[in-house]
């Protein structure tokens, strides 16, 4: 292992190191603000190292910073794709940390462990998006899941413990299923690297594989099951509402955006790089999952009375919209590779969704920690109790519907365009119908906050400066992505170039 190899994994090393530092500091000092400050400011290091790698990429002109001679060459890629999604994860972590301060002030103990575990999970996620062999994928996934399970049980209340336990067990089952699938893929192709699998699939074109390719097919199906759990796609979504309801709100916020972004990044890389020749099969499979996720998520969300459960079902629905982009594979006639629009729309949607969901959860975190309730009915007259929280939550919910001028509006257009391009017109129609349905339950929250009378006597809800900053900055990003999406769109298109081949 050379120094250069260390540089290639330096963002991940910095993240893990920061996690250890935060836990150690927590043991030494009494003032918890110091721990919070270190966790938030310390994130500058991995972001800076990631940006340095990005600049290196730009200057050297190669697609992947990892040289073929490196010991990392078969297991990790440092390319625009991994940096794009990795940066998204880091931004999400920073915002969650900022808006979690209000929440954490109430639970005095174990603050260091909270940030430490979250940082370890982030390490796993950033590794996951660069992983190019099955073993690295599996290890990164476990590194992501285990800290999150511990964080889910962090409150030690019965509901929180149930959330942690559920996440752990469901995560373990899905990992096991996926591992079985990976074993089958390895057995059929004789390789654990994505590149090697692709070569085996292409050379023998299905027929030469053991068991006529059926073992490979079964393997892919089992891996899709595992991904489905991580992506919270129907029919693997059962754990989502309970975990969302019981877990600590900042943890759920992190889970809903960062974990989702990493899992989608992984899914894109896995399918595009390991199975480029079999896009017909997995494209259709994912299209069906997308349709089911959107429809089930939106319909069940209508009946929810708890804002966190509602956001849980909303996240299932949005997993469906994003899956449209993954399913929309199409050949590009000009380059003879795949069309960029499908995966690029996934990345842009992830960015827009991350911004909107972080604002929503940021507001819900503060409100929940002040009024001790996540019931939508208790949000009555929120605009009078705290205008900034009400407006932020309203903006986020409007964005999640996909109403302009917000980022998700552009993202939906982009995803639907990709779907048309991939010949999935039926999925577009289903998608827009689902958007209409979703408006109903998002706006119900809006109605309660703006139209109903607040309880008397009127109690104002104080919001800490760091939460306000997080809400304003990310709220501005929600609108910025809707008004001037150009730079992020371009970055997304550049990032997916490594997936397209041709």
């Amino acid at each position: 292992m050379t120094l250069h190899d260390l540089y290639l994994v330096s963002p991940q090393v910095a993240l893990a190191g920061l996690g250890i530092l935060v836990i150690l500091l927590d043991l030494c000092v009494r003032r918890k603000a110091l721990v919070q400050g270190l966790a938030i400011i310390g994130l500058v290091a991995p972001v800076a190292l990631g940006l340095a790698q990005f600049i290196d990429l730009e200057q050297s002109g190669v697609a992947n910073l990892v040289p073929a001679a490196s010991i990392l060459s078969d297991s990790l890629a440092v390319d625009r794709f991994s940096l794009f999604v990795g940066l998204l994860v880091l931004i999400a972590a920073a915002v969650v940390f900022l808006s979690a301060t209000d929440y954490l002030d109430r639970i005095d103990r174990h603050q260091g462990e909270f940030f430490g575990l979250a940082l370890f999970a982030a390490t796993g996620m950033t590794l996951l998006v660069g992983a190019t062999d099955l073993i690295t994928i599996y290890i990164s996934l476990e590194l992501t899941s285990l800290p999150l399970a511990a964080l889910g049980a962090f409150l030690l209340t019965p509901k929180s413990s149930e959330a942690g336990m559920k996440f752990l067990i469901v995560g373990a089952i899905s990992s096991a299923v996926m591992l079985y699938g990976m074993a089958l893929i390895f057995g059929a192709s004789g390789s654990v690297t994505l590149e090697g699998i692709a070569a085996a699939v292409n050379v023998s074109a299905g027929s030469g594989l053991p068991f006529g390719g059926y073992a490979m097919l079964l393997g892919v199906a089992l891996v899709v099951v595992g991904f489905g759990f991580k992506l919270s796609a129907v029919p693997f979504q059962m754990w989502v509402p309970d975990v969302y309801e019981g877990g600590p709100t900042p943890v759920i916020a992190f889970l809903s955006v960062a974990s989702k972004a990493a899992a989608f990044g992984l899914a894109l890389r896995f399918f595009y790089q390991a199975f480029p020749g079999a896009e017909l099969e997995w494209g259709v499979l994912l299209a069906v999952l997308a349709a089911a996720s959107m429809t089930v998520g939106n319909l069940v969300a209508i009946a929810q009375y708890n804002i966190k459960r509602l956001l849980g079902y909303s996240t299932i629905a949005h997993a469906g919209y994003i899956l449209i982009g993954v399913a929309a594979v199409a050949q590009d006639s000009a380059t003879s590779g795949f069309a960029a629009i499908g995966p690029a729309s996934v990345l842009f949607y992830l960015g827009a969704y991350t911004a909107a969901n972080l604002v929503a959860f940021g507001a819900v975190t503060v409100i929940g920690s002040r009024i001790d309730s996540d019931r939508i009915d208790d949000y009555a007259g929120m605009v009078r109790r705290s205008p900034i929280l009400a407006i932020a939550l309203a903006l986020a919910l409007i964005a999640l519907i996909g109403v302009p001028p917000t980022g998700v509006f552009i993202a939906k257009i982009y995803v639907f365009t990709a779907a048309f391009n991939g010949g999935l017109a039926w999925l577009v129609v289903l998608g827009v119908v689902n958007s209409v349905v979703s408006a109903y339950y998002y706006l119900r929250v809006l109605r309660v906050m703006f139209l109903q009378e607040p309880p008397t006597p009127l109690e104002k809800i104080p919001v800490s400066v760091s939460s306000q900053a997080a809400l304003v900055i990310v709220g501005a990003a929600v609108i910025w992505l809707g008004v001037a999406p150009g730079p992020v769109l371009n970055a997304a298109e550049a990032a997916v170039a490594v997936l397209l081949g041709g």
Binding site: A339, A340, I341, A344, I398, I401, V403, P404, P405, F409, I410, K412, I413, Y414, F416, T417, F420, N421, A425, V428, V429, V432, V433, S435, V436, A439, Y440, L443, R447, F450, L451, A484, P485, G486, L489, N490, E493
Partner: protein, 517 residues
């Protein structure tokens, strides 16, 4: 590709929203807020008038003028621009929006709670509508189209009366359903190899799109109906009109004025700009269907109107009837023989403007009556004429214009619609004329029962409109009379926008003689 940046349209579109934001953040005190909002709306009216005056009507003038274009999204896969511009079709509607926006602010003088928010949403609404009328990029058009949702929803749900939350939600669900339908069509047009752009001007003027039915991802006829669904809900036409009476009845006065006056016009504008402009072949092919829907709307609306006892509901249903005439006018392109003329389309466009002013004025009048008597129930009203002479006169003029009295604006648009449509569908047009006769019935009966009749003691203390309330009445009456006496002030402008559409239709008809026959 049209480029340039003159700035006038950008100012016209965004001044209300910017002013609203300033009011929201910086203005204190109820009185100041009201005057600030009025000032912003007045300034926007002046800008809209400037657009109307500056618009070059000469022979060799460009079709789209005052273009503001900036790159908005430019990437490898999606390209859209911030692209505003006006042609003859949109210029009068911009003026209408400016006029009604100002009147709506003045009609909000009595609003007494959460004023800042109220004016912010009202002004944002105006920006959205202005944006729809001036966007020349499909994505931008759609963006403005959807932008209007939230302000209108909150205006009805917060400041409305009666079952306001129910009505607001109903409005929202219908509108968002229409928006969803349009979204599919917009994306499909963009992704179609034959089009491949959001640029409306390019789409309108390029023959490749017209001939490119083979290159669309969905059949052009399907796209036509997807667009049509969105505009038909907004117009609204039977059978998707049911949100309108509820929304109107429960909306505050200013929201009713904006809703009837300009937002319904977005539907008619969309039909003319997109369904007629982008689908010249399909609009001929389906003219009979538009005619049928139009005639049903006209008659059904009129018959239901007669039965209404709530003033606002009555005017709302009459709107369904009158907006049906827009469809009838557009259906005039389905002529069996000979060339299509612009007459019917011009009638449809004129109907948008005249119905905007007339119904706007009616809702203003109802608002004034309701504020004073606290009822809109027609049997409870009567004998208001001698207490409120000014309001009565305005109401009478609006009523007469609505039933198509010559010399007032309603007559002009109706006669043009009927002239145009008769050439294409003679018997259905005769049926539609029946709707006008019914209109005379319900309008006159309504006027008689509310304004005239025996004096009622409980209304003796009522006062007439004060200065602030009178200004919008006078402005609207002026618009109705001027257009009624000298319609060429608008028809000439509309013609400039409609002639290219008509010639495109005639061109496709001559290329494929089977179409529309």
């Amino acid at each position: 590709m049209l480029t340039g940046f003159s700035g006038l349209l950008t100012a016209t579109v965004f001044l209300p929203a910017a002013g609203g934001l300033v009011i929201l953040l910086a203005v204190r005190g109820d009185r100041n807020i009201r005057w600030a909002a009025a000032l912003v709306a007045l300034a926007d009216l002046v800008l809209a008038l400037a657009v109307f005056v500056v618009f070059d009507r000469s022979e060799d003038a460009a079709r789209f003028q005052l273009v503001d274009r900036l790159f908005w999204i430019s990437s490898d896969t999606v390209n859209a621009s911030y692209f505003l511009g006006v042609d003859g079709l949109s210029v009068p509607l911009v003026l209408l929006t400016g006029l009604l926006g100002f009147c709506a602010v003045l009609a909000s003088w009595h609003v007494n709670f959460r004023l800042k928010e109220y004016f912010f949403w009202l002004l944002l609404l105006q920006t959205a509508v202005m944006g729809v009328f001036t966007s020349l990029d499909l994505l931008l058009f759609f963006l403005f189209w959807e932008l209007e949702l939230v302000p209108m929803y909150l205006l009805i749900a917060t400041w409305g009366t009666g079952r306001r939350e129910y009505s607001a939600m109903k409005f929202l669900i219908f509108t968002i359903l229409g928006g969803a339908s349009m979204l599919v069509a917009v994306v499909a047009v963009f992704i179609s190899p034959a089009a491949g752009t959001f640029d409306l001007v390019e789409l309108l003027e390029s023959g490749s799109w017209l001939a490119g039915s083979g290159g669309a991802v969905l059949p052009l006829a399907v796209l036509f109906w997807f667009f049509f669904a969105a505009f038909a809900i907004k117009l609204p036409t039977w059978p998707v009109h049911t949100w309108l009476p509820d929304a109107h009845t429960d909306a505050p006065t200013a929201a009713s004025v904006m809703l009837a006056g300009v937002m319904l016009k977005m539907g008619g504008y969309g039909l003319l700009r997109i369904n007629v402009g982008l689908f010249p072949e399909q609009v001929q092919l389906f003219a009979w269907a538009l005619m049928a829907l139009g005639v049903i709307s006209v008659l059904y609306g009129a018959v239901v109107t007669i039965r209404q006892t709530d003033l606002k509901r009555l005017i709302a249903y009459s709107s369904v009837s009158h907006m049906g005439l827009v469809l009838v006018g557009i259906a005039s392109v389905g002529v069996a023989t000979g060339e299509v003329t612009a007459t019917g389309l011009n009638g449809a466009a004129m109907q948008l403007f005249t119905h905007g002013t007339i119904t706007g004025l009616l809702f203003l009048g109802v608002g004034l009556i309701y504020e004073r008597t606290h009822t809109r129930h027609i049997p409870d009203l009567g004998g208001l004429a001698n207490r409120m002479p000014l309001v009565t006169v305005a109401f009478l003029i609006a009523g007469f214009a609505s039933l198509g009295l010559p010399g007032l604006s309603g007559f002009v648009s109706e006669i043009l619609v009927f002239f145009g449509a008769f050439a294409a569908f003679s018997w259905p047009t005769v049926l539609a004329v029946l709707g006008i006769i019914l209109a005379a019935g319900y309008i006159l009966w309504m006027l008689q029962r509310t304004m005239f009749g025996p004096r009622r003691e409980q209304y003796d203390h009522l006062s007439d409109a004060n200065f602030v309330e009178a200004v919008p009445l006078v402005l609207m009456v002026a618009a109705i009379v001027i257009v009624g006496v000298y319609p060429a002030v608008l028809t000439d402008v509309f013609d400039l926008g409609l002639e290219p559409l008509v010639s495109a239709i005639n061109q496709t008809a001559s290329l494929s003689p089977v179409a529309g026959r």
